[in-house]
Amino acid sequence: MRRILLFTAYFILLIPTITSSQSYSGKEIIEKVNELLNPEASYGKASMTILTTSGDVRTFIYEQWSKGKGEKNLVRYIKPVRVKDQAILMLNNADDIWSYFPRTRRIRKLATHAKKQKMQGSDFSYEDMGSGDTFLDDYSAKRLEDEVKQGYECYKVELNRNVDSDASYSRIVIWIIKENFYPICLNYYHENDETFLEKVLVQSEIRIIDGIPTAMKSVMNNKKDNTRTQIELINIKYNIDLKDDLFTERSLKK
């Protein structure tokens, strides 16, 4: 099963389309979203701020490179010093994951269950950080009645987890801007209780970068733990030329 992890959700490719919007089925809308979420190549630098239950704030800055419509991903932390140069390499749509710990100079091959772990204690699991093919492979899409969300005319699509899937949420409801198929809000429901709203992701400050609409700010509100994580893009480039040898264990250590 192909799954695309990580930050591609935030480095979005959009082929602007003007469509006769009413004719799309839920599946077709999700296919278009899925296409957006997987740029051919991208580089980004982002800051992730975690507001903890105790009110403390933790801020991480990282760089991310992606190629092959999310098939290859490399993430490297820059700050804080505690995690400086820690890196994660994901190949084959995150079916192969390696992590690098500079303190021990050790590269560890991880199993795909590692995607369920929280990213540096944030409200994003590695699985949350991307959507990509998981929306298509792990869920069945049903179009609901259109709504206005954050001032945008939106499609509203409900994704229900397939019986044979081990995805972490029983249900996801997504609001997608009609104009550009950009997913602006996602409600994630608990894995064992499809009525329990566990997390809400809100994406805002949408700008056109290299011709592609991009959310400069994404906020994940964790209703269960009463915490919040915000990701802000510092820099983003699309459709750049990235060499394949960037996505190797050798470059993990750089």
Partner: protein
Amino acid sequence: MKNPGILVIAFFVCLSAQSFALESIDIYGYFESQYMGTRLNNRFHQLYSNKLRIDLTSAISEKIDFGANFNYITYHGKTNWNILEFLSNKIATGISPENQVLYTIPFNDRNYLDNCYIRFALPFSDLTIGKQQISLGTGYVWNPTDVYNIKDVFDPTYEQPGHNSIRYDIYIPGGISVTTVYSPEESWKMSTKLFNLKFRLSHFDFHISAIESNWNFHDYEQRTPESRFFEGVDECRRLIGLSTAGEIFGLGTWVELAQNYMEKSQNFHEIVCGFDYTFDFQTYIMMEYYRNSLAKNDYQDYTLTDWIRLYTSEQKAISKDQLYMMIQHPITDLIDFGVSQIISLSDASIAFVPTLNYSMAQDVDVLFYFNINIGKSGTAYAHESGNGGLARVKLYF
């Protein structure tokens, strides 16, 4: 100046001052304050340490980078630990009082250059020269193919020291790499030579290793009357190893095997296999099995030499079959709680190690762990080994 460590720190401070003008030099590190206490023979002993580590990295050019770190550690409290106090009466009795000092491990203040290397990025290869960390194997607690390091079973993720080596890594497209390491000692024969081939099959990484090194074994019950030192035997150790890591039925899976061919003593093998899994509710579990055929099956056969070799890291284990189990869960967004169990299957002894990690601030971590040994007298994790714990505050800068 008496202490060369002060000079080295002064050097780094001067360098850091200059580095404002040299953007390519990066200086960082950590301060670690640690308290360790243990209850032993109805007495409570305490050891404190303070460690300052300064890391220096510099990308001299796109193709050349340099890395180094300097460590300064001070110890306070009970700075001399007699290994005999940790052993059963059966083993410890018979050592004359004047010889007891020979079994003492001192914790002296020290400063040292742990790593200092230069790395050249060549076409499809890297050449690294100098003192550098070398980590081998896929095991979490035990690494049969690692002839350089022996991890602390109570604290297996702590950083390992650097080793003076020349390392050459060749990278071949398709996830294949070849690593050769030469760690020079006083002669070619006594130097460590390592060859490692890494390749990928399906979703598994495989490593095949061939290593030749010198192994200095001591007999801690034999010494010449006029000498303060125990008799050591240098012998050539040749190791053929295989390790792999991947995923089976959703479980992270790893295996590490090593067959050791010894020049003088008996050949032996080591086996590690383990798995791990993360549940949706964030709980992480891990289990690792370890066999060392050099170790013993029956705790009645453990000798004083076996114990001292274990405590001085000459040997990885005293009991043949062991199991490490860990469960960890983030109880809040800043606190992880876990419990590890180290079980000697050979002598039915167990050590429990509850751990708590607290992210106190952005760059400050606090770790607490306790070790509770509940095995019967004379076993690998016997109650007389002492029950205690450790608190460690680490501030990164």
